[in-house]
């Protein structure tokens, strides 16, 4: 048995650190699939009073939390530093100040423990969150929807990414936040819109931005403006629109476009599975519509459980396993990349 074979037979434990926005998270994942620990410390309560994430405060919180969360992850996994195989970290994209804390903490840990180091693309993480609960079959199509991203990603084989469509203006999650603010819903607004839309028995009709017939791109700024205009016009007429009706009209428009474009892309690229990924994947309306349409079209739909949709380090460890397998490690001089290309991160 040579060294490589021995390496493959012993379990691979990757400890990953994720601090790209306002969650401090550390996870340990075995062989890219089995979660041994996934500790997430959310700062949502801290940022609520500001109506959004304040980067400087997020960075400060990460420093306060980071070693606590690392220790908790090791305790939960019942492992010691010496049992680990590699240290991974979110390299980008994200808030630069937040990324830097996780980045230098992970480097210091890799240096102190003498372990290999792996930088991970955050969106690759969201997509590979699915690997923690499902068996992936390639080629596959992934719909990534979050506060900062709306992308259709074609994954031809493990770890090889191609963006076939993306938003030209606001991310879907951003549009949710802006509409929620216009409706005076508490921060974060997405879940409130989802709930209101569900309860509403009628909808204010809203436009859908399909763009060019062959395009897989998205656009949500027009829809956001249409919502604001509808609210304003009603106000000028001395009426008030039922917030639930507005929420439902808005959400239906978003879901229609996301669902139909995803299905068309999955069909055209011959995808064996459609994966939903990212924080907005927690949206019940979107999950339900995708589920029913995928059933009609006979395309298997993979959706991670809610706690793996939002930012967490287990998904980063799952994606890091791709690079572990291809033997692509990062130097400790790696740079955090607030804007980072997913395609360029693909395995070699």
């Amino acid at each position: 048995m040579n060294d490589n074979e021995r390496l493959r037979q012993s379990p691979c434990f990757i400890l990953a650190v994720e601090t790209s926005c306002d969650e401090t998270s550390v996870a340990i994942v075995e062989n890219g699939t089995r979660i041994r620990a996934n500790i997430v410390s959310s700062q949502m309560e801290t940022h609520r009073r500001y109506g959004g994430v304040v980067p400087e405060i997020a960075s400060r919180k990460h420093v306060e939390n980071i070693t606590w969360i690392m220790e908790e992850a090791l305790n939960k996994a019942e492992l010691k530093l010496g049992d680990l195989s590699a240290i991974a970290v979110t390299q980008g994209p994200g808030l630069v100040g937040s990324l830097l804390v996780g980045m230098v903490a992970a480097k210091a840990l890799a240096c102190a423990a003498g372990l290999p180091f792996i930088g991970v693309h955050h969106i690759a993480g969201h997509i590979y969150a699915n690997q923690l609960v499902h068996k992936l079959e390639y080629p596959l199509m992934a719909l990534v929807v979050s506060g900062g991203h709306t992308e259709l990603v074609y994954v031809e084989r493990a770890g090889v990414f191609r963006i076939v469509g993306q938003t030209r203006d606001d991310a879907a999650g951003e549009a949710y936040d802006k509409v929620a603010r216009a409706l005076n819903l508490p921060y974060p607004g997405g879940p409130h819109i989802d709930r209101l839309a569900h309860e509403a028995e009628a909808a204010v009709d809203m436009p859908r931005a399909w763009l060019e017939p062959d395009s897989y791109d998205f656009s949500f700024s027009g829809l956001k403006s249409a919502v604001l205009a509808a609210l304003n016009q009603a106000k000028m007429r001395g009426e008030t629109l039922e917030p639930a009706h507005v929420a439902r009209g808005f959400q239906e428009s978003v879901i229609d476009v996301l669902t139909e474009k995803s299905l068309r892309a999955a069909r055209e690229y011959g995808a064996k599975q459609l994966l939903l990924a990212g924080g907005v994947a927690a949206n019940r309306g979107l999950r339900e519509r995708l589920a029913s349409r995928c059933a009609e079209e006979r395309i298997p739909l993979l959706v991670p459980p809610l706690d793996l949709c939002t930012d967490n380090a287990a998904m980063i460890a799952a994606a890091a396993y791709l690079k572990w397998n291809s033997g692509e490690f990062s130097g400790l001089d790696m740079k955090a990349e607030p804007l980072m290309s997913l395609e360029a991160w693909s395995v070699k």
Binding site: I57, A105, A113
Partner: protein, 270 residues
Amino acid sequence: MTDYRNRQTSGKLLAFDTSTAAMTIAVMDGDTLLGETHSRAERNHSIRLVPSIEQLLRFLNMTAADLDGIAVGRGPGSYTGVRIGVTVAKTFAWARGLPLIGVSSLAALAFGGIDQGRRKAGAVQWAVPLMDARRGQVYTGIYGAGGPITWDCIMEDGIRLMSRFAVQVAERAESAQLKPDVITFIGEVEPFREAICRVSDRWRGEVAAVDADIRACNVGRLAWLRWAEGEREAVHDFVPNYTQLAEAEAKWLARQKEKGEGADGGICTV
């Protein structure tokens, strides 16, 4: 105040500071400097710090396992810069189970402004560290050494308006029981030449200005003073000294105050 006689005199300490544009790393054995690296590139601290630590250890034929403690400048300074230094220090200390000592980055800067020869001769020296904090402001404090004082903080670290602070320094020196023989401004002195001259106008003693960076060996030396006393940081809770609230937090608190005292019951303002 520290009595040198009780000091532990050996043990290998890794010391560094990234609170300014300078990145400085040293390995000490007790008070003895074994090796030091120094570079200037503010935007590169997150890229260079850990590899440079590895490089210095390798150069000294050491590994992380040979270290007995970690010392770091905890600020004030660039928010991002101090976060990088503090995060690397606490993670490293936690991972290796090493004691951690945080020292004021301003104190380390000031320590470089003490002339050791004059100190032995009994001269009382004040060192005033200066870090440009923009808009006429400085991160600064007053430190003293000499006479019966080995090393003392005379005015604590803070962010101050330089024009006003210069007057305060002169007044403090004039009214001090143990008057300094010399006041040395050290650090980013160039933007504040005028204010430093105003100190000379108001105070008869000697005033010096030294353009210098923080040196990690001084972070290490100050850490040893506290190490000797048995002091250690609680590693998990160790955070930078920013000296200021985040801007959004300060504004939010001001708004709450405007809305009326007591209206923000239950909100912690510390």
